[in-house]
Protein backbone atom coordinates (compact mmCIF):
# COMPACT_ATOMS: atom_id res chain seq x y z
CA UNK A 1 0.00 0.00 0.00
CA UNK A 2 1.19 3.46 -0.74
CA UNK A 3 2.65 5.42 2.08
CA UNK A 4 -0.06 7.71 3.32
CA UNK A 5 1.92 10.57 4.77
CA UNK A 6 0.54 13.77 3.35
CA UNK A 7 3.10 16.31 2.28
CA UNK A 8 4.52 17.92 5.42
CA UNK A 9 3.60 21.56 5.44
CA UNK A 10 6.48 23.83 4.60
CA UNK A 11 5.22 27.37 4.69
CA UNK A 12 7.04 29.18 1.91
CA UNK A 13 9.19 31.91 3.40
CA UNK A 14 8.78 34.15 0.40
CA UNK A 15 6.59 34.12 -2.66
CA UNK A 16 9.38 33.17 -4.98
CA UNK A 17 10.31 29.90 -3.27
CA UNK A 18 9.20 26.60 -4.68
CA UNK A 19 8.51 23.28 -2.98
CA UNK A 20 10.26 20.45 -4.75
CA UNK A 21 9.67 16.80 -4.00
CA UNK A 22 12.60 14.42 -4.40
CA UNK A 23 12.06 10.70 -4.04
CA UNK A 24 11.07 8.22 -2.76
CA UNK A 25 11.71 6.66 -6.15
CA UNK A 26 14.78 8.67 -6.93
CA UNK A 27 17.90 6.74 -7.98
CA UNK A 28 20.30 8.75 -5.88
CA UNK A 29 18.42 8.51 -2.61
CA UNK A 30 19.90 5.04 -1.95
CA UNK A 31 16.61 3.35 -1.31
CA UNK A 32 13.37 5.07 -0.55
CA UNK A 33 14.27 8.36 1.02
CA UNK A 34 11.93 11.20 0.28
CA UNK A 35 13.25 14.70 0.64
CA UNK A 36 11.06 17.78 0.50
CA UNK A 37 13.03 20.80 -0.60
CA UNK A 38 12.09 24.42 -0.55
CA UNK A 39 14.19 26.10 -3.20
CA UNK A 40 14.82 29.64 -4.20
CA UNK A 41 16.13 29.38 -7.74
CA UNK A 42 18.99 26.91 -7.42
CA UNK A 43 19.48 27.46 -3.68
CA UNK A 44 18.00 25.18 -1.06
CA UNK A 45 16.20 27.28 1.54
CA UNK A 46 14.84 24.47 3.64
CA UNK A 47 14.95 20.76 3.50
CA UNK A 48 12.99 18.04 5.23
CA UNK A 49 13.70 14.32 4.90
CA UNK A 50 10.63 12.10 5.08
CA UNK A 51 11.24 8.48 6.06
CA UNK A 52 9.29 5.38 7.00
CA UNK A 53 8.70 3.82 3.60
CA UNK A 54 10.63 0.70 4.54
CA UNK A 55 9.31 0.34 8.07
CA UNK A 56 8.72 -3.34 8.74
CA UNK A 57 8.32 -3.40 12.51
CA UNK A 58 11.42 -5.47 13.21
CA UNK A 59 11.58 -4.26 16.82
CA UNK A 60 8.05 -5.50 17.42
CA UNK A 61 8.73 -8.80 15.66
CA UNK A 62 11.78 -9.41 17.88
CA UNK A 63 9.57 -9.39 20.96
CA UNK A 64 7.71 -12.44 19.68
CA UNK A 65 10.84 -14.48 18.85
CA UNK A 66 13.31 -16.52 20.86
CA UNK A 67 16.69 -14.93 21.34
CA UNK A 68 18.34 -17.11 18.70
CA UNK A 69 15.55 -16.44 16.21
CA UNK A 70 16.30 -12.72 16.22
CA UNK A 71 19.68 -13.18 14.52
CA UNK A 72 18.26 -13.53 10.97
CA UNK A 73 16.12 -10.44 11.54
CA UNK A 74 19.18 -8.37 12.33
CA UNK A 75 20.58 -9.02 8.85
CA UNK A 76 17.63 -7.33 7.30
CA UNK A 77 18.08 -4.06 9.15
CA UNK A 78 21.20 -2.93 7.40
CA UNK A 79 21.44 -5.21 4.42
CA UNK A 80 24.84 -3.91 3.37
CA UNK A 81 26.58 -4.92 6.57
CA UNK A 82 24.77 -8.01 7.89
CA UNK A 83 27.71 -9.31 9.92
CA UNK A 84 28.01 -6.07 11.87
CA UNK A 85 24.39 -6.30 12.88
CA UNK A 86 24.77 -9.97 13.79
CA UNK A 87 27.80 -9.14 15.87
CA UNK A 88 26.16 -6.27 17.71
CA UNK A 89 23.12 -8.35 18.58
CA UNK A 90 24.99 -11.44 19.74
CA UNK A 91 27.40 -9.31 21.77
CA UNK A 92 24.45 -7.72 23.54
CA UNK A 93 22.84 -11.07 24.33
CA UNK A 94 26.17 -12.50 25.45
CA UNK A 95 26.59 -9.53 27.76
CA UNK A 96 23.15 -10.22 29.21
CA UNK A 97 24.06 -13.88 29.72
CA UNK A 98 27.58 -13.21 30.94
CA UNK A 99 29.03 -15.61 28.37
CA UNK A 100 32.71 -15.92 27.62
CA UNK A 101 33.49 -16.35 23.93
CA UNK A 102 36.52 -18.40 22.81
CA UNK A 103 39.29 -16.37 21.15
CA UNK A 104 39.01 -18.04 17.76
CA UNK A 105 35.35 -17.06 17.47
CA UNK A 106 36.20 -13.49 18.44
CA UNK A 107 38.94 -13.25 15.83
CA UNK A 108 36.75 -14.74 13.15
CA UNK A 109 34.12 -12.18 14.03
CA UNK A 110 36.64 -9.39 13.65
CA UNK A 111 37.86 -10.80 10.34
CA UNK A 112 34.36 -11.06 8.93
CA UNK A 113 33.37 -7.67 10.27
CA UNK A 114 36.20 -6.00 8.45
CA UNK A 115 35.30 -7.83 5.25
CA UNK A 116 31.77 -6.54 5.77
CA UNK A 117 33.10 -3.04 6.16
CA UNK A 118 34.99 -3.40 2.89
CA UNK A 119 31.85 -4.73 1.24
CA UNK A 120 29.71 -1.88 2.53
CA UNK A 121 32.23 0.83 1.69
CA UNK A 122 32.58 -0.57 -1.84
CA UNK A 123 28.84 -0.26 -2.40
CA UNK A 124 28.96 3.23 -0.97
CA UNK A 125 31.92 4.29 -3.10
CA UNK A 126 30.42 2.90 -6.28
CA UNK A 127 26.98 4.40 -5.85
CA UNK A 128 28.23 7.70 -4.45
CA UNK A 129 30.56 8.17 -7.39
CA UNK A 130 27.81 7.15 -9.78
CA UNK A 131 25.47 9.74 -8.24
CA UNK A 132 27.99 12.46 -8.94
CA UNK A 133 28.63 11.22 -12.46
CA UNK A 134 31.67 8.94 -12.29
CA UNK A 135 30.09 5.78 -13.62
CA UNK A 136 33.25 3.72 -14.05
CA UNK A 137 34.02 3.48 -10.35
CA UNK A 138 30.79 1.60 -9.77
CA UNK A 139 31.87 -1.25 -12.05
CA UNK A 140 35.32 -1.44 -10.47
CA UNK A 141 33.90 -1.50 -6.94
CA UNK A 142 31.35 -4.15 -7.66
CA UNK A 143 34.03 -6.36 -9.18
CA UNK A 144 35.80 -6.53 -5.80
CA UNK A 145 32.56 -6.62 -3.86
CA UNK A 146 31.60 -9.76 -5.74
CA UNK A 147 34.71 -11.46 -4.40
CA UNK A 148 33.78 -10.48 -0.83
CA UNK A 149 30.27 -11.78 -1.32
CA UNK A 150 31.66 -15.07 -2.59
CA UNK A 151 33.68 -15.36 0.60
CA UNK A 152 30.52 -14.74 2.61
CA UNK A 153 28.83 -17.46 0.62
CA UNK A 154 31.69 -19.80 1.47
CA UNK A 155 31.29 -19.39 5.21
CA UNK A 156 27.56 -18.97 5.55
CA UNK A 157 25.97 -20.22 2.34
CA UNK A 158 24.48 -16.78 1.72
CA UNK A 159 25.79 -13.82 -0.16
CA UNK A 160 23.97 -11.09 1.70
CA UNK A 161 21.75 -12.26 4.57
CA UNK A 162 24.51 -14.19 6.24
CA UNK A 163 23.18 -14.84 9.79
CA UNK A 164 26.55 -16.41 10.50
CA UNK A 165 27.08 -15.46 14.13
CA UNK A 166 25.30 -17.21 16.94
CA UNK A 167 24.82 -16.39 20.58
CA UNK A 168 27.91 -17.99 22.09
CA UNK A 169 30.08 -18.18 19.01
CA UNK A 170 29.67 -18.67 15.30
CA UNK A 171 27.62 -21.18 13.37
CA UNK A 172 30.22 -23.30 11.58
CA UNK A 173 33.92 -23.67 11.05
CA UNK A 174 34.94 -21.80 7.89
CA UNK A 175 35.38 -24.28 5.04
CA UNK A 176 38.73 -25.46 3.73
CA UNK A 177 40.40 -22.88 1.55
CA UNK A 178 38.53 -19.92 3.03
CA UNK A 179 41.56 -18.41 4.75
CA UNK A 180 43.69 -18.78 1.63
CA UNK A 181 41.07 -17.00 -0.38
CA UNK A 182 40.83 -14.17 2.13
CA UNK A 183 44.62 -13.90 2.22
CA UNK A 184 44.77 -13.64 -1.53
CA UNK A 185 42.08 -10.96 -1.50
CA UNK A 186 43.81 -9.00 1.25
CA UNK A 187 47.00 -9.19 -0.79
CA UNK A 188 45.70 -7.58 -3.95
CA UNK A 189 42.92 -5.38 -2.55
CA UNK A 190 45.14 -2.36 -1.64
CA UNK A 191 46.18 -2.12 -5.29
CA UNK A 192 42.49 -2.00 -6.21
CA UNK A 193 41.97 0.85 -3.75
CA UNK A 194 44.81 2.60 -5.59
CA UNK A 195 42.79 2.15 -8.76
CA UNK A 196 39.74 3.80 -7.25
CA UNK A 197 41.85 6.60 -5.91
CA UNK A 198 43.46 7.08 -9.30
CA UNK A 199 40.02 7.56 -10.74
CA UNK A 200 38.75 9.95 -8.09
CA UNK A 201 41.12 11.49 -5.55
CA UNK A 202 43.18 13.57 -7.94
CA UNK A 203 40.41 14.02 -10.44
CA UNK A 204 39.61 17.76 -10.84
CA UNK A 205 35.95 17.10 -11.67
CA UNK A 206 35.58 14.98 -8.53
CA UNK A 207 37.31 17.68 -6.49
CA UNK A 208 34.94 20.35 -7.82
CA UNK A 209 31.90 18.29 -6.96
CA UNK A 210 33.08 17.35 -3.46
CA UNK A 211 35.55 19.86 -2.00
CA UNK A 212 33.88 22.52 0.10
CA UNK A 213 30.47 20.95 -0.53
CA UNK A 214 28.02 20.16 2.27
CA UNK A 215 30.28 21.28 5.08
CA UNK A 216 29.54 20.44 8.68
CA UNK A 217 31.44 21.53 11.77
CA UNK A 218 32.48 19.17 14.53
CA UNK A 219 30.09 20.88 17.00
CA UNK A 220 27.14 20.38 14.68
CA UNK A 221 28.08 16.79 14.02
CA UNK A 222 28.19 15.99 17.75
CA UNK A 223 25.02 17.92 18.53
CA UNK A 224 23.11 16.12 15.79
CA UNK A 225 24.31 12.69 16.86
CA UNK A 226 26.42 11.89 13.81
CA UNK A 227 28.80 8.96 14.13
CA UNK A 228 31.22 7.01 12.02
CA UNK A 229 32.93 8.56 8.99
CA UNK A 230 30.32 11.34 9.01
CA UNK A 231 31.66 12.41 12.40
CA UNK A 232 35.32 11.70 11.66
CA UNK A 233 35.11 13.66 8.43
CA UNK A 234 34.41 16.69 10.61
CA UNK A 235 37.56 16.19 12.63
CA UNK A 236 36.29 14.29 15.67
CA UNK A 237 38.68 11.44 16.39
CA UNK A 238 36.35 8.80 17.76
CA UNK A 239 36.04 5.19 16.73
CA UNK A 240 34.35 2.60 18.94
CA UNK A 241 36.69 -0.14 17.72
CA UNK A 242 39.66 1.67 19.21
CA UNK A 243 38.10 3.72 22.00
CA UNK A 244 35.60 1.26 23.48
CA UNK A 245 36.85 -2.04 22.08
CA UNK A 246 34.68 -5.14 21.79
CA UNK A 247 35.30 -8.64 20.47
CA UNK A 248 39.08 -8.32 21.07
CA UNK A 249 39.58 -5.32 18.78
CA UNK A 250 42.07 -4.05 21.36
CA UNK A 251 44.55 -6.66 20.09
CA UNK A 252 44.66 -5.17 16.59
CA UNK A 253 46.80 -2.33 15.34
CA UNK A 254 45.07 0.11 13.06
CA UNK A 255 44.80 3.82 12.42
CA UNK A 256 41.56 5.74 12.57
CA UNK A 257 41.40 8.07 9.55
CA UNK A 258 40.21 11.57 10.42
CA UNK A 259 39.74 14.55 8.13
CA UNK A 260 39.31 18.10 9.30
CA UNK A 261 37.42 19.80 6.48
CA UNK A 262 33.97 18.36 7.15
CA UNK A 263 32.95 18.36 3.50
CA UNK A 264 32.00 15.59 1.10
CA UNK A 265 35.61 15.08 0.11
CA UNK A 266 36.69 14.69 3.74
CA UNK A 267 34.12 11.97 4.32
CA UNK A 268 35.20 10.32 1.08
CA UNK A 269 38.83 10.32 2.20
CA UNK A 270 37.90 8.84 5.59
CA UNK A 271 36.10 5.93 4.04
CA UNK A 272 38.72 5.23 1.41
CA UNK A 273 41.42 5.18 4.10
CA UNK A 274 39.21 2.88 6.13
CA UNK A 275 39.24 0.43 3.23
CA UNK A 276 43.02 0.20 3.61
CA UNK A 277 42.91 -0.03 7.40
CA UNK A 278 40.28 -2.76 7.23
CA UNK A 279 42.51 -4.74 4.90
CA UNK A 280 45.32 -4.37 7.43
CA UNK A 281 43.05 -5.70 10.19
CA UNK A 282 42.02 -8.62 7.98
CA UNK A 283 45.68 -9.50 7.46
CA UNK A 284 46.40 -9.30 11.20
CA UNK A 285 43.41 -11.49 11.94
CA UNK A 286 44.63 -14.08 9.44
CA UNK A 287 48.18 -14.06 10.81
CA UNK A 288 47.21 -14.30 14.45
CA UNK A 289 44.17 -16.56 14.18
CA UNK A 290 44.12 -18.58 17.41
CA UNK A 291 43.35 -22.27 17.53
CA UNK A 292 40.52 -23.70 19.53
CA UNK A 293 36.76 -24.02 19.61
CA UNK A 294 34.44 -21.62 17.83
CA UNK A 295 31.59 -21.94 20.31
CA UNK A 296 31.38 -21.19 23.99
CA UNK A 297 31.05 -24.04 26.43
CA UNK A 298 27.45 -23.36 27.41
CA UNK A 299 25.34 -26.47 26.73
CA UNK A 300 21.92 -24.94 27.30
CA UNK A 301 22.58 -21.97 25.05
CA UNK A 302 24.84 -23.07 22.21
CA UNK A 303 23.53 -25.73 19.86
CA UNK A 304 25.54 -28.98 20.14
CA UNK A 305 27.60 -30.32 17.24
CA UNK A 306 25.82 -32.54 14.76
CA UNK A 307 28.16 -35.43 15.51
CA UNK A 308 27.51 -35.29 19.24
CA UNK A 309 23.77 -35.27 18.67
CA UNK A 310 24.04 -38.63 16.99
CA UNK A 311 26.04 -40.24 19.78
CA UNK A 312 25.14 -38.46 23.02
CA UNK A 313 21.76 -38.35 24.70
CA UNK A 314 22.42 -35.02 26.47
CA UNK A 315 23.35 -33.28 23.25
CA UNK A 316 20.12 -34.40 21.65
CA UNK A 317 18.08 -33.20 24.64
CA UNK A 318 19.78 -29.81 24.64
CA UNK A 319 19.25 -29.44 20.94
CA UNK A 320 15.56 -30.23 21.32
CA UNK A 321 15.16 -27.84 24.23
CA UNK A 322 16.95 -24.93 22.55
CA UNK A 323 14.95 -25.32 19.36
CA UNK A 324 11.56 -25.75 21.00
CA UNK A 325 11.71 -23.51 24.04
CA UNK A 326 14.77 -21.33 23.56
CA UNK A 327 16.99 -20.41 26.46
CA UNK A 328 16.14 -18.15 29.35
CA UNK A 329 18.23 -15.01 29.75
CA UNK A 330 18.66 -13.47 33.22
CA UNK A 331 16.60 -10.34 33.71
CA UNK A 332 18.36 -7.07 33.04
CA UNK A 333 19.21 -4.65 30.29
CA UNK A 334 22.26 -3.89 28.20
CA UNK A 335 23.28 -1.40 25.57
CA UNK A 336 25.94 -2.71 23.23
CA UNK A 337 27.39 -0.51 20.53
CA UNK A 338 29.71 -1.45 17.70
CA UNK A 339 31.33 0.60 14.97
CA UNK A 340 29.37 -0.30 11.87
CA UNK A 341 30.54 1.04 8.48
CA UNK A 342 28.08 3.90 9.01
CA UNK A 343 28.71 4.71 12.64
CA UNK A 344 27.51 3.66 16.04
CA UNK A 345 25.22 0.68 15.69
CA UNK A 346 23.69 0.01 19.09
CA UNK A 347 21.43 -2.67 20.47
CA UNK A 348 19.47 -2.02 23.63
CA UNK A 349 17.97 -5.26 24.89
CA UNK A 350 15.74 -5.64 27.93
CA UNK A 351 15.22 -9.11 29.31
CA UNK A 352 12.53 -10.10 31.77
CA UNK A 353 14.06 -13.49 32.47
CA UNK A 354 12.20 -15.46 29.81
CA UNK A 355 13.36 -16.94 26.51
CA UNK A 356 12.06 -14.03 24.45
CA UNK A 357 13.44 -10.51 24.64
CA UNK A 358 11.11 -8.07 26.35
CA UNK A 359 12.33 -5.22 24.19
CA UNK A 360 14.92 -4.94 21.45
CA UNK A 361 15.82 -1.49 20.25
CA UNK A 362 18.29 -0.78 17.49
CA UNK A 363 20.13 2.48 17.56
CA UNK A 364 20.50 3.10 13.86
CA UNK A 365 23.55 5.10 12.91
CA UNK A 366 21.90 6.26 9.71
CA UNK A 367 18.87 7.68 11.48
CA UNK A 368 21.05 10.08 13.41
CA UNK A 369 23.31 10.75 10.44
CA UNK A 370 20.32 11.65 8.30
CA UNK A 371 19.51 14.50 10.67
CA UNK A 372 22.69 16.24 9.59
CA UNK A 373 21.44 16.49 6.02
CA UNK A 374 19.43 19.74 6.36
CA UNK A 375 22.41 21.31 8.14
CA UNK A 376 24.66 20.38 5.21
CA UNK A 377 22.34 21.44 2.43
CA UNK A 378 20.43 24.51 3.54
CA UNK A 379 21.75 27.61 1.84
CA UNK A 380 23.62 25.53 -0.72
CA UNK A 381 23.00 24.55 -4.30
CA UNK A 382 20.35 22.04 -5.25
CA UNK A 383 22.84 20.00 -7.28
CA UNK A 384 24.90 19.40 -4.14
CA UNK A 385 22.04 17.67 -2.34
CA UNK A 386 22.79 14.46 -4.20
CA UNK A 387 26.46 14.66 -3.24
CA UNK A 388 25.49 15.28 0.39
CA UNK A 389 23.09 12.34 0.53
CA UNK A 390 25.76 10.09 -0.92
CA UNK A 391 28.39 11.32 1.50
CA UNK A 392 26.52 10.33 4.66
CA UNK A 393 26.11 6.78 3.32
CA UNK A 394 22.58 6.04 4.41
CA UNK A 395 20.81 2.70 4.22
CA UNK A 396 17.08 3.13 4.42
CA UNK A 397 16.52 -0.34 5.78
CA UNK A 398 18.41 0.65 8.89
CA UNK A 399 16.70 4.01 9.21
CA UNK A 400 13.18 2.62 9.01
CA UNK A 401 13.72 -0.81 10.58
Amino acid sequence: MAHLNPTPVLEPGQDRTLILNMGPQHPSTHGVLRVILEIDGETVVRMMPDIGFLHTGIEKTCEAKFYQQVVPLTDRIDYLCPMTNNLCYVLAVEKLLGLEIPPKAQWLRVLLNELTRINSHLVWLGTHAMDIGALTVFLYCFREREEVLKMFEMVSGQRMMTSYFRVGGIALEPPLGFFDRVREFAGYFPSKVDEYENLLTGNPIWAMRTKGVARMTAEDAIALGATGPTLRGSGVDFDLRRDMPYSSYEKFQFKVPVSQEGDVFARYMCRVQELRESTAIVRQALDGMPEGPIKADAPGIVLPDREKMKTQMEALIYHFKIITEGFAVPAGEVYQAVESPRGEMGYYIVSDGTAKPYRVHMRAACLANLQTLPKMCEGRLLADVVAAIGSIDIVLGEIDR
Partner: protein
Protein backbone atom coordinates in the same frame (compact mmCIF):
# COMPACT_ATOMS: atom_id res chain seq x y z
CA UNK B 1 32.51 -14.54 33.76
CA UNK B 2 29.58 -15.11 36.11
CA UNK B 3 27.17 -12.23 36.48
CA UNK B 4 27.60 -10.06 39.55
CA UNK B 5 24.39 -8.96 41.26
CA UNK B 6 23.21 -5.48 40.38
CA UNK B 7 24.18 -2.67 42.75
CA UNK B 8 21.23 -0.43 43.55
CA UNK B 9 22.65 1.30 46.62
CA UNK B 10 23.41 4.95 45.90
CA UNK B 11 26.23 5.05 48.45
CA UNK B 12 28.26 2.39 46.63
CA UNK B 13 28.24 4.11 43.26
CA UNK B 14 28.47 7.74 44.28
CA UNK B 15 31.98 8.01 42.84
CA UNK B 16 30.73 7.52 39.30
CA UNK B 17 31.16 10.92 37.59
CA UNK B 18 27.56 11.21 36.40
CA UNK B 19 26.08 10.13 39.74
CA UNK B 20 28.35 12.47 41.68
CA UNK B 21 27.46 15.37 39.43
CA UNK B 22 23.71 14.83 39.63
CA UNK B 23 23.57 14.12 43.37
CA UNK B 24 25.79 17.13 44.05
CA UNK B 25 23.36 19.30 42.11
CA UNK B 26 20.00 18.08 43.36
CA UNK B 27 19.76 14.85 45.36
CA UNK B 28 15.99 14.78 44.93
CA UNK B 29 16.23 14.60 41.18
CA UNK B 30 17.94 11.21 41.42
CA UNK B 31 15.31 8.67 42.39
CA UNK B 32 17.48 5.59 42.06
CA UNK B 33 20.58 4.03 40.57
CA UNK B 34 21.51 0.66 39.19
CA UNK B 35 24.93 -0.65 38.30
CA UNK B 36 24.52 -3.87 36.39
CA UNK B 37 26.72 -5.64 33.81
CA UNK B 38 29.23 -2.78 33.89
CA UNK B 39 26.53 -0.30 32.90
CA UNK B 40 25.36 2.63 34.98
CA UNK B 41 21.68 3.51 35.08
CA UNK B 42 20.37 6.61 36.84
CA UNK B 43 16.67 7.12 37.43
CA UNK B 44 15.89 10.79 37.11
CA UNK B 45 12.76 12.56 38.20
CA UNK B 46 10.61 13.52 35.23
CA UNK B 47 10.61 17.23 36.07
CA UNK B 48 14.40 17.44 36.03
CA UNK B 49 15.49 15.42 33.02
CA UNK B 50 16.34 18.35 30.76
CA UNK B 51 18.30 20.19 33.42
CA UNK B 52 20.07 16.98 34.37
CA UNK B 53 21.14 16.49 30.76
CA UNK B 54 22.37 20.08 30.49
CA UNK B 55 24.35 19.53 33.67
CA UNK B 56 25.93 16.30 32.44
CA UNK B 57 26.65 17.79 29.05
CA UNK B 58 28.51 20.76 30.55
CA UNK B 59 30.41 18.78 33.17
CA UNK B 60 34.01 20.00 32.82
CA UNK B 61 35.55 16.81 34.25
CA UNK B 62 33.54 14.27 32.29
CA UNK B 63 31.31 15.88 29.66
CA UNK B 64 28.58 13.54 28.46
CA UNK B 65 28.38 15.58 25.30
CA UNK B 66 26.90 13.01 22.94
CA UNK B 67 23.34 11.71 22.96
CA UNK B 68 23.58 8.19 21.57
CA UNK B 69 20.00 7.12 21.75
CA UNK B 70 16.54 7.77 23.11
CA UNK B 71 14.10 4.94 23.43
CA UNK B 72 11.27 3.67 25.57
CA UNK B 73 10.07 0.48 27.25
CA UNK B 74 6.44 -0.29 28.01
CA UNK B 75 5.92 -2.17 31.31
CA UNK B 76 2.20 -2.70 30.78
CA UNK B 77 0.17 -3.46 32.91
CA UNK B 78 2.32 -2.27 35.83
CA UNK B 79 2.61 1.38 36.81
CA UNK B 80 4.53 3.60 36.14
CA UNK B 81 4.01 2.16 32.72
CA UNK B 82 6.64 3.81 30.53
CA UNK B 83 10.36 4.18 30.93
CA UNK B 84 12.01 6.65 28.59
CA UNK B 85 15.68 5.79 28.27
CA UNK B 86 18.49 8.11 27.28
CA UNK B 87 21.95 6.79 26.44
CA UNK B 88 24.62 9.40 26.93
CA UNK B 89 28.21 9.06 25.83
CA UNK B 90 31.31 10.96 26.80
CA UNK B 91 33.52 11.09 23.75
CA UNK B 92 36.36 12.49 25.82
CA UNK B 93 36.28 9.94 28.65
CA UNK B 94 34.89 6.97 26.66
CA UNK B 95 32.17 6.48 29.20
CA UNK B 96 28.47 5.76 28.91
CA UNK B 97 25.60 6.45 31.23
CA UNK B 98 21.93 5.61 30.94
CA UNK B 99 19.27 7.98 32.24
CA UNK B 100 15.76 6.77 32.82
CA UNK B 101 12.52 8.61 33.37
CA UNK B 102 9.43 6.77 34.55
CA UNK B 103 6.06 7.92 33.27
CA UNK B 104 2.53 7.02 34.27
CA UNK B 105 0.11 5.84 31.65
CA UNK B 106 -2.27 8.69 32.53
CA UNK B 107 -0.06 11.42 31.09
CA UNK B 108 3.00 10.03 29.36
CA UNK B 109 4.82 13.30 28.71
CA UNK B 110 8.33 14.47 29.35
CA UNK B 111 10.31 17.54 28.43
CA UNK B 112 12.02 17.37 25.06
CA UNK B 113 15.81 17.36 24.81
CA UNK B 114 15.90 18.98 21.38
CA UNK B 115 17.05 22.26 22.94
CA UNK B 116 20.07 20.45 24.45
CA UNK B 117 20.88 18.15 21.53
CA UNK B 118 19.16 18.89 18.21
CA UNK B 119 19.87 15.24 17.39
CA UNK B 120 17.18 14.17 19.86
CA UNK B 121 14.63 15.24 17.26
CA UNK B 122 14.22 12.00 15.33
CA UNK B 123 14.70 9.76 18.36
CA UNK B 124 11.90 11.50 20.24
CA UNK B 125 9.64 11.48 17.23
CA UNK B 126 10.20 7.75 16.94
CA UNK B 127 9.31 7.21 20.61
CA UNK B 128 6.19 9.32 20.14
CA UNK B 129 5.32 7.37 17.03
CA UNK B 130 5.80 3.95 18.61
CA UNK B 131 4.70 4.52 22.22
CA UNK B 132 2.60 7.65 22.26
CA UNK B 133 4.88 9.38 24.75
CA UNK B 134 4.68 13.12 24.26
CA UNK B 135 7.72 15.38 24.39
CA UNK B 136 6.80 18.88 25.46
CA UNK B 137 8.70 21.60 23.65
CA UNK B 138 9.52 19.41 20.66
CA UNK B 139 9.50 21.52 17.48
CA UNK B 140 7.80 18.99 15.20
CA UNK B 141 6.22 16.13 17.13
CA UNK B 142 4.66 14.10 14.33
CA UNK B 143 4.79 10.45 13.39
CA UNK B 144 8.16 9.50 11.95
CA UNK B 145 7.96 5.94 10.64
CA UNK B 146 4.27 5.05 10.62
CA UNK B 147 1.83 6.73 8.23
CA UNK B 148 0.40 9.98 9.47
CA UNK B 149 -3.13 8.60 9.85
CA UNK B 150 -2.14 5.43 11.69
CA UNK B 151 -4.14 4.58 14.78
CA UNK B 152 -2.49 3.22 17.88
CA UNK B 153 1.11 2.95 19.01
CA UNK B 154 2.70 -0.24 17.65
CA UNK B 155 5.39 -0.92 20.22
CA UNK B 156 3.05 -0.75 23.19
CA UNK B 157 2.60 -4.13 24.81
CA UNK B 158 -1.19 -4.06 24.42
CA UNK B 159 -0.78 -3.72 20.67
CA UNK B 160 -0.71 -7.22 19.16
CA UNK B 161 1.92 -8.39 16.72
CA UNK B 162 -0.77 -9.06 14.15
CA UNK B 163 -4.51 -8.58 13.76
CA UNK B 164 -4.87 -5.12 15.23
CA UNK B 165 -7.49 -3.84 12.83
Amino acid sequence: MPLAPAITDLEQVKNHPAVARLVGWNAEAVTGVKFDREEMTIYVDREHIREACVLLKDDPACPFNFLSDVTCVDWYPSEPRFEVIYHLLSILNKERVRLKVRLNSASPAVESLTSVWPGANYFEREVFDMFGVRFTGHPYLRRLLMPEDWEGYPLRKDYPVEGYR
